[in-house]
Each structure stands twice: as structure tokens, then as C-alpha cells.
């Protein structure tokens, strides 16, 4: 899966550019596909649950695509232009929005609870005026992936607002980060769960929901000191990318990466990335791009090599979006799924259904969409932490299920998307709509067997087989429970059948 999918680029004044081949070739989605060709695209976001649905916030208003960006059409909106879009994940509360007016007027935070059909303005205090940019503008919005009641908004230049009740009430971050020139905010799952605030000269991180903050000390560790875009790598919630420029509007920049949730940063080995910062418009399928101040975008992608390198740089941010001004890398929101979660050991009531990010397969892994999940007594022992063998909290229970392969990693050879399988052991837990497995943990489910039956294979049957043949070394002719009679729960069958392999 890595590296596949569309790259959408929001340009300043050239609508949306799209590449379906990791950056080798680009087309503009603006001319014939519905978007005004001169749009200034401030924001691109894929719907959290339906990645083919993409929203573009532009100076001509909000656009929506239902086909991954190939065609765009104006979406209904409260009024005027949108600046930032973010998705929450609570059912019926799918899109949150922060609006940035084109004209100097009070910015606001808007919320939609019906998938973007209608919008309501939320009560939040934002200064009327501010240094540098005149009227504050929302520059970033982030929903806590571990608790979608927690929402963070960055304002340029008016500090950070946060809500812990899904946007009903808002507080201002006071004092902990002195620089009010906020460029972006991001919350990652971690561990540890970390909130990032990007300001115009540094990046701050907090692992206690904003009570205390640590600066990365950009001037000491980064080649340039003007950060703006930040994104977490899909499927790897400890890896964060940050774009750095030299100034505004900027002539040169790069991407740095942290693989430990923002504690340390490194410059990935991507030659050419040092010149990320503008895109040569002629290589993007027509017309030179221009940044906010009318300067040609200069990130040269004119050589194929550079384009390939850009593709490599972006390959990790799957289906990412890259803003040529160097302002924003927006990775695709991960699909959500329902799962049973255990946050404290105890009785059956500790099993809670929640919506969490769907896992994504690594190179040798597969993602299975479950149609049936097998419940085993051992699941209850782990849940109540009998003998102190409970998994690390929080966790999703279950090792057995059956379903269909949803996605496979790059080096998976045993199965392919669409195959019917049963699951014997799972990395992410089986009590969920989808479960992540090593490819060796999934096995063909023959066509004459239904999913419920498939979910019964692992713990009941495999344990009996292992006991009978590997541990007790059952031989043909011996007397004991035959492999044909394994399916029994707490029936101690002393049926004397010939020990016979299935």
C-alpha cells in the first residue's frame, strides 16, 4: 500500500494539482473538473471515514470531491472562504471547520455535525486585531485521536485555543508558549499522546494535554527556523514530519522528521528535499504558480530525479497533501473503525465499544475486515487479568476472527485483497471491525465454510491439534479424543475415537 494513491497539492492561485503516480506527472483538477482555475487553496482534507471524499478550502469557498480529488464541486458552507478543515470522528459529528475570511473580519470556528451539510459558529474569543497580520487567522486545527472531545486550534497571531468538550467551550493557552504566532497544531496518538504547537520560530510539544510544554529549540537543531506544516505518518503515530523554511514567504526549506513523537528530529536522507519550498509551475501541468506575494514558486521539480525524490519524500505520508508554499503537509486521515477496548481490567462491563483509528499494515502485515469474531474463555481471563497475564492497557481483546483481506503490506505474498480468511492470532486485537495480522496469522477460509465457523478455528481447534499431536504425540491407533471431535467446550469427552488427523 505504501506510496500508492493520489497526491493532491493545493496551490496559491492555481487550484488543485493532482498526481496519481507518486509525483511523476501532474494534472490540474481545476480547469474542467469544477474548481475555479484561479483558486487559492488554503486547505485540503480527506474525510476521515471516506478517504475518497476530499474537501478543499479556497478563497472561492469550500469545494468537495467525491472521487479523491479528480472532480470538485462547490459545497454549501456558512459564508465566504474557509481556511482550515478538520475531521472529528464521533458519529454524526464528522467535520469541524475553522473559517478564515478573505476580508478583514472576525475569524471564527465552525462545526458541522451532519457531514458538512450545515454549519454552526462556536463561541470562542478571538482578538479583533493582532501584530503582523492585522486580523488573527486560524492556521491549524487538530482533534485528539485518542479523545475526539479534545480539539486544538492555532491562531496567527493570537495563540492557542483548546476545547475539551467537542467545541462547546474554549480556553486560551496562557503563558506556557509565549510566542502567539501560531502556525499549526497537531495531536498524535504516540505513545506518548502528544500535542504539538508550531509557532513561527519553534515547535513545542506537550504530553500532558497542554499543561506543560517543551520546545524543540529550532535555532539550535534545525537548518532553518521557520516551521509551518506538520503531519503525522499514517499508520505510525510516533513519526511526525515538519516543514521548515528560512523565512516568509521563504526561498528555501526542507522537511525534518521525528520518529519518537517529537523528542528528537532528523533530516531524512532525501536529496532534493532541501529545495522543497516551491513547485516549478511549468512542471505541474500548466502555468507558473505564485505564492501569496506573487513570487514564483521555486521548489524546482524540473528534473525527473527531483520529482522522484519528492515522491520518495512523500511516499511515507501516504495519500498526503503537499502545499507548495511549504505551508502544509496534510496526511490523509486514517479510517476509523469500531472496536471493543479495555482500559481497566475487570468484569465484562469493562468491554467498551469505541471508535479508534483503523490500523494499517506494515510490509509483511495484512488488514482483515472481520465478519465474525470468535469469543474464547481465555479472552475473559485476560480481561480480568487472571494470573497477571493481562495485556498492556488499553487494548482490544481477541485472537480469532474471520473475514476478508482489506489491505496488504508491500511484501505480502500469501494473500491478496479480497481473499476470505480466518484469523489465528492478531496484532491489534480481533474484537473490532478490522484487525491487523502478520500474513502468517491468516489462513484460507474455504468457500464451503461461513465466517462464523471460521472464527471458531483458532483457539478451539488449533489448541486441540497442538495438544493432541505436538504435545501428547498422539499416534494413529491410540485411544483418546479424535481430531474429529474437537469442537466442544467444557465437555470432557472421553470418546474413544481413533486418534486421526483431520
Amino acid at each position: 500500500m505504501t506510496g500508492k494513491g493520489n497526491i493532491l497539492v493545493g496551490t496559491v492561485g492555481q487550484g488543485v494539482m493532482m498526481s496519481a503516480d507518486d509525483g511523476e506527472s501532474w494534472t490540474r483538477a481545476g480547469v474542467r473538473q469544477g474548481m475555479h482555475s484561479d483558486c487559492i487553496v488554503r486547505m485540503l482534507r480527506a474525510d476521515a471515514r471516506r478517504p475518497e471524499v476530499v474537501y478543499a478550502g479556497t478563497d472561492f469557498g469550500l469545494y468537495r470531491s467525491d472521487d479523491g480529488g479528480a472532480t470538485l464541486a462547490p459545497a454549501r458552507e456558512p459564508d465566504e472562504g474557509f481556511g482550515r478543515l478538520e475531521h472529528g470522528h464521533r458519529p454524526g459529528r464528522s467535520v469541524r471547520d475553522v473559517r478564515r475570511h478573505r476580508h478583514a473580519s472576525t475569524p471564527g470556528i465552525f462545526r458541522s455535525t451532519d457531514g458538512g451539510k450545515s454549519w454552526g459558529k462556536l463561541r470562542v474569543d478571538i482578538a479583533d486585531e493582532c501584530p503582523n497580520v492585522g486580523v488573527p487567522r486560524p492556521t491549524g486545527i487538530a482533534v485528539d485521536p485518542t479523545n475526539d472531545r479534545n480539539v486544538w486550534v492555532g491562531l496567527e497571531v493570537d495563540g492557542v485555543r483548546y476545547s475539551t468538550d467537542g467545541g462547546e467551550t474554549w480556553s486560551k493557552l496562557n503563558g506556557q508558549i509565549r510566542n502567539q504566532d501560531v502556525h499549526n497544531v497537531l495531536v498524535i496518538e504516540g505513545p506518548p499522546k502528544t500535542v504539538f504547537t508550531v509557532v513561527n520560530d519553534d515547535i513545542w510539544r506537550s504530553t500532558d494535554d497542554g499543561k506543560s510544554w517543551q520546545a524543540a529549540r529550532a535555532r539550535e537543531i534545525f537548518p532553518w527556523h521557520y516551521p509551518r506544516g506538520i503531519a503525522v505518518k499514517p499508520g505510525d503515530p510516533r513519526t511526525v514530519f515538519l516543514t521548515l523554511g528560512d523565512s516568509t514567504p521563504g526561498r528555501i526549506g526542507t522537511v525534518v522528521r521525528s520518529r519518537d513523537a517529537g523528542v528528537t528530529w532528523e533530516t531524512p536522507e532525501v536529496p532534493g528535499a532541501a529545495e522543497l519550498g516551491g513547485l516549478d509551475g511549468d512542471d505541474l501541468g500548466g502555468g507558473a504558480g505564485h505564492d501569496v506575494r506573487g513570487e514564483p514558486l521555486r521548489l524546482s521539480l524540473s528534473q525527473r530525479r527531483r520529482r522522484r525524490l519528492l515522491a520518495q519524500a512523500l511516499a511515507g505520508v501516504r495519500r498526503g497533501f503537499f502545499d507548495p508554499v511549504g505551508s502544509t503537509i496534510l496526511s490523509k486521515e486514517r479510517e476509523r473503525m469500531k472496536a471493543i477496548r479495555v482500559s481497566a481490567y475487570g468484569g465484562p462491563s469493562v468491554l467498551k465499544i469505541e471508535e479508534i483509528p483503523a490500523p494499517q499494515p506494515g510490509a509483511t502485515q495484512v488488514l482483515v475486515r472481520n465478519h465474525a469474531v470468535g469469543v474464547n474463555p481465555v479472552d475473559t481471563y485476560l480481561r480480568s487479568n487472571t494470573d497477571n497475564r493481562g495485556p498492556k492497557l488499553p487494548y482490544t481483546p481477541g485472537s480469532d476472527s474471520a473475514g476478508v483481506i482489506e489491505a496488504v503490506g508491500d511484501s505480502v505474498t500469501r494473500v491478496k485483497k479480497g481473499d476470505r480468511v480466518y484469523v489465528g492470532g492478531s496484532i491489534s486485537g480481533a474484537y473490532a471491525e478490522m484487525t491487523l495480522c502478520e500474513q502468517t496469522q491468516v489462513h484460507e477460509l474455504p468457500g464451503n465454510v461461513n465466517y462464523a465457523q471460521g472464527s471458531a478455528m483458532n483457539v478451539p481447534y488449533a489448541t486441540a491439534f497442538h495438544a493432541l499431536f505436538h504435545r501428547a504425540h498422539g499416534e494413529a491407533g491410540e485411544i483418546g479424543p479424535g481430531a474429529r471431535g474437537q469442537r466442544r467446550r467444557r465437555h470432557r469427552l472421553r470418546s474413544s475415537s481413533r486418534g486421526r488427523a483431520a
Binding site: L351, V373, T380, E444, I479, G485, R492, A502
Partner: protein, 141 residues
């Protein structure tokens, strides 16, 4: 139901003297292998139905048990702990190759007792620990 699954003889473990029946069915020898699903209750009694050089594979247990080790000595018997978790990758590959084939040729026919929606996982956990259900308890996402 159990007989339909392929067992040659079926005994009710709640019936009195069912272990004597096991001995009788085996011509006084006892069985070579016992898969013990509830060792804390049954381990001591198992030896009465076990053949010489028999093996008791413990795959289920819910507490402590006191038993006389001489029973094991008297029959050169072995008590084997079993956890699927500790099966090697090679063993797992062999297990599932056999199970898939068993499904395909119809030898293995899992029986479903109850299907519940995923959100009812707490109910499923109660059900799986209750006595008297015959077949798999399944959650449907």
C-alpha cells in the same frame, strides 16, 4: 451433536460413573490421551481412566488442584501443559494447513451456538463462561 461431529462414543460428563464407562469401553485399558479442559476439577480423577503410559494434556484450568503424584508414577503417565501461544511458527503452519484441509473436505464442521453484535461483547463474555452452551459464541462487527 457430538456424534455427528465424528466421535465414536459419547459420554455425558455430568452422569455419575462416566469414567468407569470409559474404562469399560476401552476393554479395561483406559485411554491413551486425555485433553483436559478443566484440570482443577478433573486432574486427580483422570488417572482412573488413563492407560499405561497415557498423557494428560491440560488445555483448560480455572484454579488450583491437589493430586497425588504417585498416580502418575503408577502409570508412567505424563501431564503436559499446553498453550497455543507457545506453539512454534513451524508448528502453527502445520496446524493450520491441517485445519484448512479439514474444513475443505468437510471433516471439520464448527457449530455456532450464538451470534451477537460486537457492542454486546460483555454479554458474550458472560455467555462463554456459562455452562450448557453447545457451540461457538460469535461477535458480529
Amino acid at each position: 451433536m457430538v456424534a455427528e461431529q465424528g466421535a465414536h462414543h459419547v459420554l455425558d460428563h455430568n452422569a455419575p460413573g462416566y469414567l468407569d464407562e470409559v474404562v469399560k469401553l476401552t476393554g479395561g485399558q483406559g485411554v491413551d490421551i486425555i485433553l483436559e479442559m478443566l484440570a482443577n476439577v478433573n486432574l486427580q480423577k483422570d488417572f482412573g481412566a488413563l492407560a499405561m503410559r497415557g498423557r494428560i494434556a491440560v488445555i483448560g484450568n480455572r484454579g488450583s488442584v491437589e493430586f497425588n503424584a504417585r498416580l502418575a508414577m503408577n502409570k508412567n503417565a505424563a501431564i503436559l501443559g499446553v498453550a497455543l501461544f507457545h506453539a512454534s511458527p513451524v508448528q502453527l503452519a502445520g496446524i493450520h494447513a491441517a485445519l484448512v484441509e479439514g474444513l475443505r473436505n468437510g471433516t471439520l464442521r464448527p457449530i455456532i451456538h450464538q451470534e451477537l453484535p460486537l457492542a454486546q461483547a460483555p454479554r458474550a463474555h458472560e455467555a462463554v463462561m456459562e455452562n450448557g452452551h453447545h457451540g461457538k459464541i460469535v461477535l458480529v462487527p
